[in-house]
Symmetry: C2
Subunit: 102 residues, 2 copies
Amino acid sequence: MSQFTDVTITREANIYFDGKVTSRSVHFADGSHKTLGIMLPGDYEFGTEAKELMEILAGDLEVQLPGEGWKKVAAGESFEVPANSSFKLKIYAVTDYCCSYF
Amino acid sequence: MSQFTDVTITREANIYFDGKVTSRSVHFADGSHKTLGIMLPGDYEFGTEAKELMEILAGDLEVQLPGEGWKKVAAGESFEVPANSSFKLKIYAVTDYCCSYF
């Protein structure tokens, strides 16, 4: 298990797709924030404002980044999504993720 | 929105019932901890070790506490569960909760 220390967490969850995707926002002293989230099996599309780094803590999925084909992503791997774009996901198993924003 | 400040959060989620119930563990400087969790519609039973206070941040459910009948619980309400016991839940809508342990 890994931890984030000396952080602030928003109590209320971010809830998407009828609860099939949910996350908690974690705020750091340097002003940055991350979300720790869960995605249940299904197909999803997300838009981005900032550039995002998605770290997969557990799960099994495929991602389609802008202008690319589908790519398998396993636990321990990560992918980056450009700012002001979108990405598609096929979630095959309950997926636990950490998303960072830049 | 409300927040917990100066806390430590475990990155990896607690995952139950195939992801239909998930939570994050939040640790406080005084050594206590809470979990912030999501329950999707369904019927669940949980056991307790410590006494628990379940605060419902959002959602719609019924709870059956030890030796009691079913009781409706709405967002903004809470219920306590004795230590070393169990409780049953009927979740009718995606439920966001904060659980404290004593």
